[in-house]
């Protein structure tokens, strides 16, 4: 286990108008590890991911990549650092085949023409490195693939670009059991191959099955980031639902936090 995080977020703030979505959030992502990002609906998981991937600018805080501070202003900046995101809807084009999808917008060219053989070879090698055997032909249309196979293609697309960090947003939602197990094993293999993986999930089994670390968000704050070997299922559920568990997590709210909202309170 590497001691130094590849990506480190400190004190991230993000507001949409008057709504404070992220408040002093921190997150460390280590190479060769799966970091699970958990939290209730509206805890700020998706917003945090969009901040990391450069879709939303952050209001305050620092982003450190490989020990140096970086500014991520656009998805292109994130891609240059090697950060790839696989969204829940996968963002694949049904009317294109597997190779076309994997290289969409970043096609390899030879002169003015596309270098199809090179792209096909790279796509094949990437899928093989993930031990994917279920796909028959690389020239199959994505519309003909099952949910699990699509997820696999989307993940392979993210891995193709020598990426360092792959962020997966609920990769097993809406999959059958066989496909879920397949995707979980794939997620684990990515990290075992040396990548950093951030896994967003609501499913505690998925989290405990593959994660090395668990970061829990609670109402836009980091409740805790812990090793998966140090906590129990019940503790993580508490972190998600009330933001603390025993001596883990956020300090209890002082009663006067809301005092100014109470009628008759001194101003």
């Amino acid at each position: 286990m590497a001691a130094k995080p590849l990506l480190e977020l400190r004190g991230i703030d993000k507001s949409f108008g008057p709504v404070r979505v992220l408040h002093d959030v921190s997150l460390s992502v280590y190479p060769g590890e799966v970091t699970a990002l958990v939290g209730d609906n509206g805890a700020g998981k998706s917003t945090l991911v969009k901040c990391i991937s450069g879709i939303y600018p952050i209001d305050a805080g620092t982003v450190t990549f490989e020990g140096r501070e970086v500014a991520v202003h656009s998805p292109r900046d994130a891609a240059e650092l090697g950060i790839e995101v696989v969204y829940q809807d996968l963002a694949l084009c049904d009317n294109l085949d597997i190779v076309q999808n994997m290289f969409l917008g970043r096609e390899i060219r030879r002169g003015i023409a596309l270098d199809e053989p090179a792209m096909e070879r790279l796509a094949g090698e990437t899928l093989a490195s993930l031990s994917v055997r279920s796909v028959n032909s690389l020239r199959q249309l994505v519309s003909s693939l099952s949910g699990g196979e699509r997820q696999t293609v989307a993940i392979a697309k993210a891995v193709l670009w020598n990426s360092r960090i792959v962020i997966l947003d609920e990769p097993t939602a809406a999959l059958g059991v066989a496909q879920t197990t397949h995707v979980l094993e794939l997620v684990r293999r990515l990290a075992d191959n040396g990548l950093s993986v951030v896994l967003i999930s609501h499913n505690m089994n998925d989290v405990f099955a593959v994660a090395d670390r668990i970061a829990a968000l609670y109402l836009g704050r980091t409740a805790a980031q812990v090793r998966a070997s140090d906590v129990t299922h019940a503790q993580v559920v508490e972190l998600i639902t009330i933001g603390r568990s025993g001596n883990l997590g956020l300090p209890p709210e002082a009663p006067n936090d809301f005092a100014d909202l109470l009628p008759g309170a001194p101003r």
């Binding site: 031990s131 684990r188 989290v207």
Partner: protein, 392 residues
């Protein structure tokens, strides 16, 4: 005092090391072999030509390297010519395969094992498969022996299998039955199913590069293949690794072995099916159906899976505290049970495992899947060849 090894012994050792390297890692350039094995270039050249002479490897120039300079020759195992027969007798099926040097399955056959069929009776279909395969082997093919994976306690030296069906302990001389069934075709090695799966995953699967590994194989019972310090732990009689019979609950139910509250009575197939209200069913598909139902929200199945997961955690925690493994692999039906109950398993392990032990343990599922039994069985047969490549 022992004299230092003779030149001949050193050479035999080096030949074995080189052959083992290409057997495990596949085609490797001479240059890489030189750095990996720490031998000088001319030694590698001489060893390679000995192995080529014995028909165990081939050597060829690589197609393209994209680098300047004369490309280093690539050494490949003769997967198509040098092979072992791998046989697997499982609870519900019987499989046979021809596995080439390098761990490649060249062909395989499978048939169902009807309930009640004894281990010795399984030899007949196996012998049929082997003779089918034998007739198709190319003329220059070379068989190094046969390896057998059997679910049940197996003694390596003579292939005695001990089983405990409901009626008490039975001894079945599987090794003897195989020798008469298959005819004279090299050595026959018998190993426990979990043991050979551990061997396969350790050499080329999820535990490659780790020297302390526990492979837990689940079907009706639970068995473990244990690798400690790079060596298989099989015990005095060769029966070691029966973790399914460690007693975890003295007030638990009776076990087929005659004891009470063995681990497999709490986490085996019967426990899961009984808890989920499916006591009338059995087999791998029934277990998968419970995991499936739990994921779809069947509360009784979820409850069963959680309870079994908790008990799995108890056993795994004990094993972690005893062996301090780097990797634990969940195979057989335990693969699906693990992925469906990981929260409970991990939580219990975290609660009872000693911190220094549980910090670095990786919980994994098999990489070789159901092929592991066949590849591992072949590994048993290849072992003799790798120990002394020029002898056979």
């Amino acid at each position: 005092m022992r004299a230092s090894p003779s030149q001949e012994e050193v050479r035999r050792h080096n030949l074995g090391t080189l052959l083992r390297y290409v057997h495990v890692h596949g085609a490797t350039s001479r240059a890489e072999l030189t750095t990996r094995l720490g031998l000088n270039r001319s030694t590698i050249g001489a060893l390679t030509s000995d192995l080529i002479g014995a028909g165990l490897v081939t050597e060829a120039a690589p197609r393209e390297t994209g680098r300047a300079g004369r490309p280093s020759l690539v050494v490949r195992p003769e997967s198509g010519r040098v092979y072992a027969y791998a046989l697997s007798i499982e609870v519900d099926r019987i499989r046979a395969a021809r596995v080439g040097l390098g761990g490649r399955i060249l062909e395989q056959y499978e048939t169902a094992r009807p309930p009640g069929m004894s281990t010795a009776e399984a030899v007949r279909p196996l012998a049929r498969f082997v003779s089918t395969m034998r007739s198709g082997v190319p003329d220059d093919g070379r068989c190094v022996g046969s390896g057998v994976a059997v679910s049940g306690m197996a003694r390596g030296e003579d292939g005695m299998v001990r089983l405990a069906p409901v009626a008490g302990w039975l001894e079945e001389p599987l090794g003897e039955a195989l020798r008469s069934g298959l005819g004279e075709h090299g050595q026959i090695s018998v190993g426990n199913h979990a043991d050979v799966c551990a061997l396969a995953e350790h050499s080329r699967g999820a535990a490659a590069g780790s020297d302390n590994v526990i492979y837990l194989y689940g079907d009706v019972g639970i068995g473990a293949g244990i690798v400690a310090g790079g060596r298989r732990v099989i015990g005095h009689g060769g029966y070691g690794g029966e973790v399914g019979h460690m007693v975890v609950n003295p007030y638990g139910s009776a076990c087929s072995c005659g004891s009470r509250g063995c681990w497999e009575t709490e986490v085996g197939e019967h426990a899961l099916l009984r808890l989920s209200g499916r006591a009338d069913r059995s087999g791998r598909d029934a277990v998968l159906a419970v995991v499936d139902a739990a994921m779809r929200g069947d509360s009784q199945a979820q409850h069963a899976l959680r309870q079994v997961g908790d008990w799995i955690g108890f056993g795994v925690g004990n094993l972690v505290n005893i062996f301090n493994p780097e990797v634990i692999i969940f195979g057989g039906t335990l693969r699906d049970v693990y992925l469906g109950a990981a929260a409970q398993i991990r939580s219990r392990l975290n609660a009872i495992g000693l911190p220094a032990f549980r910090e670095h343990v990786r919980l994994r599922t098999p990489e070789l899947g159901t092929d592991a039994a066949l590849i591992g069985a072949a590994e048993l047969a290849f072992e003799h060849l790798l120990d002394d490549p020029l002898v056979i």
